[in-house]
């Protein structure tokens, strides 16, 4: 419209004036947007910082407030906020990461090695994010050179309503970390899911209290857990944190056939197998067998065995067997072999996901073919 209007202006002076006005409007809009963004950012940073510190202090003990650098937190936050949408919580996740890092640095426990320290940070920050951002923790993708954030509100990263455990997710705002650090974080999540949050929180609080002003690592945490539970956990503990140790439990076979002696009965066989070299403590791997009539049987398997067959005689056919159904073992390297079913059905969520993907593929085809 501006172009069209400029053509109606006869003199160059008028045209230049119009161009200047256009540029002024653009510059003013950008400045106003920046000012508005700054005004709304500060309270969000403060609220998130306070909530994060409250969570960490409640869980792991008090912190040295005088050593917290709020300017550093604000600096980290500024880089994340300049073009944020209303539902984008990248800013909050950035603040959570910055505050958690500082909290861990000020607890005066020198975590060692660095991969363990990073793992504790990733685990603690994920837990805090689950608490602070519950119900509004959405995935944000950065497009156009990483400058423009877009929040995918249909992908919630908050914990499920029926599950109190924090969701395990690689948040971009927590920064890049080594494979060892990510493994350490997964190991801590696995411990929490296996032992329960109350035991885990107590162990970590004791760890931070006991080793204040000292250097400590996973061996010291293992010692606390051993004392707490009365069972030596050092061997599985070492494997959990070792990136080279491969945890992989799965179902190798499932069959359910009519019994030869009784036509109304079924004989079902489930073969569990340890595909990886790493092992857990005895009776630590759960397995659930589901039958056609809706009944279920839960077994606890010795995770040190290479394989084990379970046989059942029932009036109903076995339809599914799943090892670790509640995903306790977050470090399991291949979850696709965790289940076997004799009635493969596509879940409703998957049908819709495929339809969504088809729309995406059409858009890809249209976008790239438009170039030629």
């Amino acid at each position: 419209m501006l172009l069209y209007y400029s053509r109606t202006l006869r003199s160059r002076r008028q045209q230049r004036g119009l161009a200047f006005c256009g540029l002024f409007v653009i510059a003013f809009t950008l400045c106003a947007q920046t000012l508005v963004a700054q005004d709304t950012t500060a309270p969000r940073v403060d609220a998130t910082q306070n909530a994060t510190l409250q969570y960490l202090a409640d869980w792991f003990g008090s912190y040295a407030a005088e050593r917290l650098n709020s300017d550093r937190v604000a600096f980290d936050a500024r880089a994340a906020d300049w073009f944020a949408s209303r539902h984008d919580v990248s800013l909050e996740r950035t603040v959570i990461a910055a505050v958690t890092r500082q909290y861990l640095a000020t607890t005066a426990v020198e975590l060692s090695p660095p991969a363990f320290a990073d793992g504790v940070f990733l685990y603690a920050a994920a837990r805090v994010a689950n608490g602070v951002l519950e119900g509004r923790n959405f995935d944000t993708r950065r497009v156009f050179g990483g400058f423009v954030p877009y929040t995918i509100r249909s992908q919630s990263l908050s914990r499920r309503r029926t599950d109190s455990r924090p969701l395990v997710w690689n948040f971009e705002e927590f920064g890049t970390s080594t494979a060892e650090a990510q493994r350490a974080a997964l190991a801590l999540h696995t411990l929490e899911r296996s032992l329960g949050w109350a035991s885990m929180q107590q162990a970590l609080a004791t760890f931070f209290e006991q080793f204040r002003s000292n250097r400590a690592g996973r061996q010291e945490l293992a010692a606390i857990l051993t004392e707490q539970r009365g069972v030596d956990v050092s061997k599985p503990f070492a494997d959990l944190f070792n990136v080279a140790a491969n945890f992989d439990y799965g179902i190798e076979g499932l069959s359910s056939e009519q019994s030869s002696s009784n036509a109304a009965a079924f004989r079902s066989t489930v073969r569990l197998r340890r595909f990886g070299d790493a092992t857990l403590a005895s009776r630590s791997v759960p397995m659930v067998v589901s039958f056609e009539d809706g009944s279920e049987i839960t077994e606890w398997w010795d995770g040190r065995e290479q394989q084990r067959d379970f046989e059942y005689d029932s009036r109903s056919r076995a339809v599914q067997a799943v090892v670790d159904p509640d995903v306790l073992l977050v470090v399991d390297s291949n979850r696709s072999n965790n289940g076997r079913t004799l009635q493969p059905v596509l879940p409703r969520a998957a049908v819709r996901a495929i339809a969504t993907w088809l729309v995406w593929l059409q858009d890809v085809m249209l976008t790239y073919s438009s170039l030629v």
Partner: protein, 327 residues
């Protein structure tokens, strides 16, 4: 400028009078994508159906399962990311186009197949718009077959130049040039503005190549160019002699696309679930309608200028306009 807007209006009118054509093109697009959807669906059924965390009644995919699936995904499975959800899909695709982000190589297969499908469709579509009336199924297929080899060659030439642009100009612009420009500014916003400026430069080059291919096809249909070389030369000549009209028509059609894009972005926030999927499909329908509008407008512009240059002659197509539009 008036000629370009008149051509756009003629193009819009031609497409509005051809709802069946738009519907058929939309259906063909879905059919072209469907085999790949079935392949992914089969893999997802294997990976998902056994997962305990996925209830058959659940309407959302478990985020943890998705992260684990992505970590182990290969080939087509690698494209199954949260970026396929709703408005994120076109946004991510547009961003990938401008940033030259690498896509899994397997994606080249559906894109190449679809480009070939359009090499066929353009023959029938442009002939239909050139004649201003329905060709009938046989006439459409005959026109598509007649122009298919030529349009495939034009598409190949455009694809080659586009790849060269990505390998040379894009690499330089978004590599050293952007790094130098970004190092001169102190805020992220200023760095982004430099990036936008570079996007404009690179998008102009992509648009020029795309327009050259478009007008080569148009001149093959309207002016009867017989070889790819002749068609491309004729198309380039048309662009050179009518730069303002060509650019205005491109920008005006681009504005339609931007309007559709923004509308989808706003509407996507209000609809979820299956309604969101239908909305996405409606967006694809809109994109196809705009693509057809652009083709019809280019034909109209080409004919307007040909008529203006030779007021006493008629172009091949206008000699026999045929019956009113039905397809």
């Amino acid at each position: 400028m008036r000629d370009a807007l008149r051509a756009l209006s003629a193009g819009l009118s031609a497409v509005l009078r051809s709802p069946i054509l738009v519907g058929v093109v939309c259906l063909i697009t879905i059919v072209a994508a469907l085999p790949f959807g079935l392949v992914l669906g089969d893999r997802l059924r294997t990976a998902l159906a056994n997962q305990p965390s996925i209830s058959l009644e659940a309407t959302e995919i478990d985020a943890e399962w998705w992260m684990h699936f992505r970590a182990r995904a290969r080939g087509l499975d690698r494209t199954f990311t949260p970026a396929v959800l709703g408005f994120a899909a076109p946004l991510d695709n547009l961003s990938a186009l401008m940033d030259g982000s690498p896509r899994p190589l397997i994606i080249a297969v559906p894109v190449a197949i679809y480009a070939l499908v359009w090499a066929f469709l353009w023959g029938g579509v442009l002939t239909r718009f050139d004649r201003g009336g329905a060709l009938g199924t046989r006439g459409f297929i005959a026109a598509g077959r007649r122009h298919f080899p030529l349009f495939t060659l034009i598409g190949l030439a455009a694809a080659t130049v586009t790849v060269m642009l990505y390998l040379t100009v894009h690499t330089v612009l978004f590599g050293p040039v952007y790094r130098v420009l970004a190092s001169t500014v102190s805020s992220e916003r200023d760095a982004f503005l430099w990036r936008v400026a570079l996007y404009v430069v690179f998008a102009s080059l992509l648009a020029a190549v795309s327009l050259a291919a478009d007008y080569a096809r148009v001149s093959a249909v309207c002016a009867g160019a017989r070889s790819a070389r002749e068609a491309i030369a004729s198309g380039l000549r048309f662009m050179r002699t009518n730069p303002a009209a060509v650019a205005t028509l491109y920008l005006a059609t681009g504005a339609l696309f931007v309007a559709l894009f923004v509308l989808y972005g706003i509407a996507d926030r209000r609809f979820g679930g299956w309604r969101g999927v239908l909305l996405g499909q409606a967006f694809i329908f809109g994109r196809l309608a705009i693509r057809l509008t652009f083709g019809a407008s280019e034909i109209a512009l080409f004919k307007q200028r040909a008529d203006a240059a030779h007021p006493h002659s008629t172009s091949r197509g206008t000699a026999n306009p045929g019956p009113p539009a039905a397809t």
